[in-house]
Amino acid sequence: MKLHEYQSKTIFSRYKIPIPRGRVAATASEAKQIAEELGGRVVIKAQVLVGGRGKAGGIRLAKNSKEAEELATVILGMDIKGLPVRKLLVDETVRIQKEIYLGITNDRTMNRPVMMASSEGGVEIEEVARISPDKIIKTHIDPLLGLRDYQARDLAVSIDLPRDLWRGFQEICHGLWNAYSQSDASLAEINPLVITVENRLLALDGKMVVDDNALFRHPDLADMRDLDVEAAPEVEARKYGLSYIQLDGEIGCMVNGAGLAMATMDIIQLYGGTPANFLDIGGGASAEKVGAAFRIILSDPKVKVVLINIFGGITRCDEVARGILGAISEVKPKIPMVVRLVGTNAAEGLRLLGDAHMVTAETLVDAAQTAVRMAKGEGR
């Protein structure tokens, strides 16, 4: 789960990481008032969970509170990469001497977190990694020991930070590590971490991504979720324990198991079709779950055919077939469907569906080819 800049920075400040003075605003008049409190000159930042806010005009400098109000009105009316701007962060302005980078993420090759620092801050770290990878200094953190002080110091040494800033930098490193590990984050990033002309370190921008699986330990973080970020059907799917991702194609997919769901998308593509989504219905296949899956798939107007691919292992295929029939009688989809059932009691399941005049297939190849043909309007 991604957190907004203002949420991330609030968490950082709890861990003693210095951030600019500022507050979040939902209206232009709030923005004006905050600007007044901060002395007029402020930076107004759209709070949307996508990169490239600046280029899209979502970050603007206001010279006084009146201008702050005007700019806030403009930015609150924007959509950035499809996401509506509902909140603004109004921060004091800062005079910058230098921008550096500091972040933590999980390195899955090493099975441990890695802290990264770079003297090249203010640009995307992937960009730095591409152009000058030697400018990114990494130190892996032992998950049982946590960040050691010497590691933070080594980063300061390696990015050639002036010595009078080492102590403060080390404290920020520890703050970021504590914020990261105590929030079960998978990313915590300060970019840029600036050195002001007054020679202070300040976290100008912040980003955190939290492990969804750990939200049960963090009800406060779970409450921060911004539903605007995700497509509505993805939110709906999660309610039913379904894993759904919308794509651009024409063939809707309903599959049990994530690997098999990917393989189903792949084979559709292999035979010249385009998958409309990834959808894993998980274990079992109750009429309720299948029904919800149908509704979600069909909410995408691009879908021309639905391909149902179920491997009956522990779940018996005849039960799955009955679930599908129940859901269909409720949802009444108006587009064709291809069903492939395989495994335990597959024959019985296919017979039940065939009796209901559904298109059935025995192999994955057959199912995919049929779906592709039907999507192209070629009939079975």
């Binding site: 991702i245 098999l260 393989a263 998308m265 559709i268 990834f278 522990i314 192999t363």
Partner: protein, 287 residues
């Protein structure tokens, strides 16, 4: 005839009285696996499955009384890390964790501890192990595979069943099928299992089922190139997956442009592995 589990495995089930745990314990017992004990704290002294399996309050008690050497875990995600530590500390040699949705931080701690203790962990978020005709530890349906000489290792669940079933339909059997799970941080990886298959006299060919995310398939390719004499085929799921999106499994994600199916297929083909275009093609590639 197999790796990791067989008829001599003495299995203990953590979370044996839960809905999932009990159902799959019954399946494992029916398959012929020696399920010697179950553990559910607070339920010690009871028996499940009509007196077939005794329940203990702790892994240590269960292991002491029954000589269990392998454990399979069905406890909820929030208790799973503790269950793994408990098993490792009680001297269990092989721990198979089926549980899905365990926080990554927990798994990093577990992995760090297991590495150092030299206890083998399979999973989490995996279907477990099946040695057809020998033992079933986990949730792989027993009826979709027959004994044979093909070793299978996979990050996926139903996709693996698909392959096992396709092999069975083609009259081909498996030595052992190992589901290593779809999480970004897990225990045993492809290379570990390939090494075991390479050393197993009863495995003649291997099938690797990978997916997008991470670089374990590339490491497997490297291992195959330098250390394997046996024939290998593979399938990689996720060619049609968009970047930056988690495809169901926590580990199945293309990040910063790396971990794509194309890269993995290239790496495997470069070392002579035959990569199937779809799962049903696997039997033909092994023939």
């Amino acid at each position: 005839m197999s790796i990791l589990v067989d008829k001599t495995t003495r299995l203990l089930v953590q979370g044996v009285t839960g809905h999932e745990g009990l159902f799959h314990t019954q399946q494992m017992v029916e398959y012929g696996t020696q399920v010697v004990a179950g553990v559910t704290p607070g339920r010690g002294g009871e028996w499940v499955l009509d007196g077939k399996v005794p329940v203990f309050d702790s892994v240590r008690l269960a292991a002491d009384y029954t000589g269990a050497n392998t454990s399979v875990i069905f406890v909820p995600a929030r208790a799973a890390a503790d269950a793994m530590f408990e098993a490792a500390d009680a001297g269990i040699e092989l721990v198979v964790c089926i549980t899905e949705g365990i926080p990554v931080r927990d798994m990093m701690e577990v992995r760090r501890y297991f590495d150092q203790k030299n206890v083998r962990l399979i999973g989490p978020n995996c279907p477990g192990l099946l040695t057809p005709g020998g033992a079933k530890v986990g949730i792989i349906p027993g009826n979709i595979a027959i004994p044979g000489n093909i070793g299978i290792v996979s990050r996926s669940g139903t996709l693996t069943y698909e392959v096992l079933y396709a092999l069975k339909m083609a009259g081909m059997g498996a030595s052992t099928c190992v589901g290593i799970g779809g999480d970004p941080v897990n225990g045993t990886n492809f290379v570990d299992v390939l090494q075991l298959f390479e050393n197993d006299p009863h495995t003649e060919k291997v099938v690797l089922i990978g997916e997008i995310g991470g670089s374990e398939e590339e490491k497997a390719a490297d291992f195959i190139s330098h250390h394997m004499t046996k024939m290998a085929a593979a399938f990689i799921a996720g060619q049609a997956a968009p970047p930056g999106k988690r495809m169901g499994h926590a580990g199945a994600i293309i990040e910063s442009g790396s971990g794509t199916a194309a890269e993995k297929i290239r790496a495997l083909e470069a070392v002579g592995v035959r990569v199937a275009r779809h799962p049903e093609e696997i039997p033909a590639l092994l023939a």
